[in-house]
């Protein structure tokens, strides 16, 4: 920013507002350059330069201006960018603070904002009544997708989505407090003072850059003898200095969820010229509050009359905010149309600032006495019992048409801006989100908090308490402390209306807008009712009223009143649509916060990961593990590498990283009994020092997991699970242990990550590991297949398994994980020296398939029993109970013709089937075909010199020897059904 005096706008009023010209910022809007003052929003800066036209509406592409000064803004949605990657669509001009260098553009217009071709929609608007698209575009049948829908899609939408990856950072913080206060106006600040005085931990949040709420514009309120806004700043400073208070500005409490949980979105750096690298753009606060004080105030409503949407028509409170806070006059000749006293004060403020007030048109016969007297004193023309029935002006309001109520005599009054107010709607959004129940306040035509569903309380404007002194008392009580705050206002406002004003009633066809962004008019609501939409939810959905990005903050009450009138029912009987989170839109990035890139999901790596990477490993994702997939040498593609690895393992030996397999240590005197109940196999017969392959089913009898279980001692088992299954298997086991078999004396501990597991498989495996192992004789005689021993490997305590998932002589060396890298390096060096290789999961898959070993989750899904998988032998016939014993005996699980796991060989050995291919008996049958099953595993087997496959086939084992067919896109492959063992059928090698 530069300190030199710049043109900060012709509409700045000298002496008005709280901004200082000390610092300014340059920005462009639709390519034109402007200067703003520090603290300006985009809206105030544009208005200061006399720019009202900022956007086009959604459906009719009508010119639109700035209606409000806050987050409820429906019109002024702009595209704001810092640079190409930092471009943000649909930004509220009334919220975004100007930063130096901001590039801002209007949206939803082509070729330009002032000349928008889409505005032709406005001419055809009679056709585009609510819900018209349900009634047409049906012929010809294909045309919806090909012609109409693309057209509608292009016309709809507002901003243009970013096309580059967002480089900004976002943060997340969990927080707790005794009292969370949403809103830092008079009520919220007072409640915070009160709560903080009790020593409670307090979090006070407000969506604006500074505290004060309505005090930004309301210059007639004094608190403790001070100007209201100044009091607010002093109070905030006092609160910030207290150790038990956290004040968060630019922070929106966007959602009030269950059990005192609120989501807050803090805009940390979007207002800064040059945000530091460590500063996040936005921060998500996830707060658990013991108690919540809602002090969100209320939102002013517009008047519903013909052509009430022209640029220059603005809410009274917004006009006052722009003048009293930003020092900007919204025009030079301003009219007022109101049903509420608040607009008078806007007129007073402008008048005192030297702006001409054309007239105050008040649809009421009796406005408040005090404002009427003041208007007279200031010499402002007041037309009570009159209404504005129309406006004129293409890109900005030029005149308003005024008539006495019930009278057809009209007169046009020239204006360049029009202030409107239909009164105030309490902001009950958070209260409603907390699932509190509202009641209808008939006297003031508004919904107010009634029954609370959580420990929270509403104070001030959002509770319908309009008087400042009463609001303060309410806030002090809500805070539970003892503080003295005295406030008073010059005027007590009266009035307000909801629904259509004079001249926009049911007998008219004018466009009187309710929902500006979605172009919903009063007559759209009436049409919906006429078409049988009698529920307010139906009316909302049919007209899309309140479904735009402002979520109906201005429109809901108007829509409801018009519907109620049409239905001839009292408003509370028509109901209110649900207030859904978020209160204002929240950036995805904020909700995602840290969970991106590396932190999106943990990438689990084994202790040997870096060493494997250095050996050129390609990795694959298995669950959230990264596993070495294959180890290509220079010039090798995947197939070549895998073939070499498969061959080498069987010819010499290979080293495989099996560390990811789940491991659970089961300890206690009843360990065997427990495993008896959890696995289909019997475990009491397993001797210490031995291991066994186990199958786990759920109660329904379907295979849940499998793995080798070793018995280290009478009371200690070492259970392995599948890589992906480890957490759920432990959870499943804990469930049974804690809740079904709590009498068993046994404990479970996950040791997956305690051990680095280095599998050495192949004829030379024993020779490779022998020099490293101490404390156990690993000869075939003393340490046969399926043995386990605790020993030392390279001087550290280890667990050695003699087991195999390849059908070869094999060992799995388990060492404490931190030792994994050095042990792996030593074993690999020796293996390499003997002509062996490293192999990855792909070769492991091929090698095990050559032996017909299943992979749970690949060769089984959740509908396969042990018998289906050819593992019936692993189901104990002697046990009287185990999890799954009954499920297995259900009729369909005992049925003939179930799908069974078999082998398949293609007639042409070089044809490798597709995993997932379907199998039929008759390939020439018409579709839909009868399918017998599918291919679960299929590989080129270098060792067999042909392709091999496993498949689940209906009645499969009885079909061995038969020819079946696998129809593919381009051809049909004939296959022969076989058993599942393709290599070393007698299984001698494993015992080598």
């Amino acid at each position: 920013m530069s300190a030199s005096v710049k043109n900060v706008g012709a509409f700045r009023i000298k002496g008005a507002g709280r901004l200082t010209p000390a610092r300014t910022a340059r920005f462009t809007f639709d390519g034109k350059s402007y200067t703003a003052m520090e603290g300006d929003t985009v809206a105030s800066a544009l208005l200061a330069h006399g720019v009202h036209l900022v956007g086009r509406s959604f459906k009719y592409h009508r010119p639109r201006g700035i209606l409000t000064a806050g987050p409820e803004e429906p019109n002024a949605l702009l595209d704001v960018s810092r640079d190409a990657a930092r471009r943000q669509p649909n930004v509220r001009a009334t919220v975004q603070e100007v930063f130096d260098g901001a590039k801002i553009s209007s949206q939803n217009r082509w070729p330009s904002l002032s000349f928008d071709v889409g505005a032709v929609n406005n001419l055809f608007s009679p056709f585009f009544a609510a819900g018209f698209y349900y009634k047409t575009f049906m012929w010809p049948r294909q045309a919806w997708t090909k012609v109409y829908e693309p057209f509608i899609r292009r016309a709809a939408g507002l901003g243009v989505a970013p096309t580059e990856e967002d480089p900004d950072r976002y943060a997340n913080r969990f927080a707790h407090c005794d009292v969370l206060i949403a809103g830092a106006g008079v009520a919220g600040l007072t409640a915070a003072l009160s709560a903080a005085s009790t020593g409670a931990e307090v979090i006070l949040v407000d969506e604006q850059p500074e505290v004060g709420g309505a005090l930004h514009f309301d210059t007639s309120t004094t608190i403790d003898g001070q100007d209201g806004y100044d009091w607010a700043q002093d109070t905030a400073a006092k609160l910030r200095a207290m150790p038990n208070v956290r004040v968060l500005t630019r922070t929106t409490a966007f959602g009030y969820y269950n059990h005192g949980f609120l989501g807050l979105a803090e805009r940390v750096s979007d207002h800064l010229d040059r945000p530091g690298r460590d500063v996040p753009r936005e921060r998500l606060w996830q707060v658990r509050a013991k108690r919540v004080i809602i002090a969100t105030g209320s939102i002013e409503r517009h008047m519903v009359f013909a052509n009430n949407d022209r640029p220059g028509i603005m809410l009274a409170s917004a006009v006052r905010t722009f003048l009293n806070h930003y020092g900007v006059a919204v025009g030079r000749n301003v009219g007022v149309y109101t049903a509420h006293d608040s607009a008078y004060e806007a007129a007073f403020d402008l008048k005192r600032a030297g702006v001409h007030i054309a007239a105050i048109v008040d649809c009421r016969d009796r406005p408040g006495e005090a404002v009427l007297a003041e208007a007279r004193a200031l010499g402002i023309d007041v037309l009570t019992g009159h209404s504005v029935t129309d406006t004129a002006g293409r890109l900005r309001i030029r005149s308003m048409t005024v008539a006495r109520n019930g009278n057809f005599d009209i007169r046009k009054i020239e204006v360049d801006s029009l202030i409107v107010s239909a009164g105030w709607t309490p902001s009950v959004h958070l209260f409603s989100q907390s699932r509190g129940k509202l009641r209808w306040d008939e006297a003031n035509r508004r919904f107010l908090p009634d029954t609370y569903a959580q420990d929270c309380v509403s104070v001030g404007g959002c509770n319908g308490t309009d008087d400042v002194a009463e609001a303060i008392d309410e806030a002090i009580a809500a805070g539970g402390g003892r503080v003295a705050v005295h406030g008073e206002s010059r005027f007590n406002w009266t009035g307000g209306m909801i629904g259509a004003a004079e001249g926009a009633g049911p007998d008219t066809t004018v466009k009187a807008f309710i929902d500006f962004q979605h172009d919903v008019t009063a007559k759209d609501i009436r049409l919906a009712v006429r078409e049988g939409m009698h529920s307010i939810e139906h009316i909302k959905r049919f007209t899309t009223n309140g479904m735009a990005s402002d979520q109906g903050k201005l429109s809901n009450m108007h829509g409801l009143a018009i519907a109620a009138e049409m239905l001839d029912r009292p408003i509370p009987q028509v109901g209110l649509t649900t207030f859904r989170a978020p209160y204002t839109p929240v950036t995805y990035g904020t909700l995602v916060a840290h969970s991106r890139g590396e932190l999106f999901d943990p990438a689990r790596k084994t202790p040997m990961h870096e060493l494997e990477a250095a050996e050129g490993a390609a990795f694959e994702d298995v669950g959230n593990w990264k596993r070495a997939w294959y180890f290509p040498r220079r010039g090798e593609d995947m197939a070549t590498a895998v073939n070499r690895e498969c061959r080498t393992v069987r010819d010499v030996a290979g080293v495989f990283d099996a560390s990811t397999l789940g491991k659970i240590e089961v300890v206690g005197p009843d360990a065997a009994q427990f495993l008896n109940l959890l696995y289909t196999n019997a475990w009491d017969t397993l001797q210490p020092g031995k291991c066994r392959y186990g199958i786990m089913t759920r109660e329904d009898g379907f295979i849940y997991d499998d793995g080798v279980v070793g018995r280290l001692a009478e009371d200690r088992f070492y259970v392995t699970t599948t890589t992906g299954g480890a957490p759920r298997v432990l959870h499943h086991m804990e469930d049974y242990l804690q809740t079904e078999f709590p009498h068993l004396r046994v404990w479970l501990t996950s040791t997956t990550e305690q051990w680095a597991v280095i599998a050495v498989q192949g004829p030379k495996a024993r020779e490779i590991i022998r020099p490293f192992v101490e404390g156990v004789d690993i000869s075939n005689e003393t340490f046969p297949h399926m043995s386990v021993a605790e020993c030392e490997v390279m001087g550290v305590p280890a667990r050695l398994f003699r087991m195999s998932f390849t059908g070869e002589l094999g060992f799995e060396v388990n060492v404490p994980a931190d030792y994994g890298p050095t042990v792996w390096k030593a074993i690999w060096e020796r293996t390499k020296g003997m002509g062996g290789c490293l192999y990855g999961t792909e070769a492991m898959h091929v090698l095990r398939a050559e032996k017909g070993y299943i992979i749970v989750g690949q060769d089984t899904d959740g509908t396969v029993t042990p018998d289906d998988a050819g593992l019936g032998w692993a189901v104990s016939k002697k046990k009287t109970d185990f999890v799954g014993i009954r499920g297995l005996k259900r009729p369909d699980l005992m049925r003939e013709g179930r799908k069974q796991l078999v082998g398949l060989v293609t007639n042409r050995p070089s044809d490798v089937l597709e995993e997932g291919a379907q199998i039929v008996a008759d390939p020439n049958q018409p579709k839909p075909m009868t399918m017998l099953g599918h291919v679960t595993s299929a590989y080129w087997s270098e060792n067999c010199g042909r392709s091999i496959a496993m498949a689940l086939v209906a009645g499969g084992r009885a079909r061995i020897g038969q020819t079946l067919y696998v129809p593919m896109k381009d051809r049909t492959i004939a296959v022969e059904v076989t058993d599942t063992v393709f290599f070393d059928k007698d299984g001698g090698r494993i015992h080598g």
């Binding site: 059990h259 949980f261 658990r288 529920s535 804990e734 009954r886």
Partner: protein
């Protein structure tokens, strides 16, 4: 995000630390192998799925690891009590399981009566 009182940790903790574990007080049949198909379906599949007071199990999986029981209103999601696994079903003062549930706010607010 729920706030759940763990009867073992004796503290309210975020739902993020817990895993829901189904309807409570469904005992696994002692003579599992001997029950009928109907009894098995009843045991394994059929659930009350109450609207209103429900008894359910949770596990403080990222805390003390314990399974425990809870009484909760499925309409408001309010916990009425939690208690340790193995204890019999605890009555909730002033609430009976058959009491008609309160309508959700969405239903009542959206009504066009």
């Amino acid at each position: 995000m729920l706030l759940i009182h763990c009867p073992y940790c004796e503290e309210d903790r975020s739902e993020l630390e817990f895993r829901w574990a189904g309807e409570a007080h469904i005992a696994r049949p002692e003579n599992m192998a001997g029950i009928t198909d109907e009894e098995f379906a009843e045991f394994f599949f059929l659930r009350n799925n109450e609207k209103g007071l429900t008894y359910e199990r949770w596990r403080h999986i990222h805390g003390c690891g314990r399974f425990f029981n809870a009484a909760r209103d499925t309409v408001t999601d309010k916990f009425l009590m939690t208690y340790k696994a193995g204890l019999p079903k605890q009555p909730v003062p002033g609430v009976s399981a058959t009491e008609k549930a309160v309508e959700t706010c969405e239903q009542t607010e959206g009504d066009a009566r």
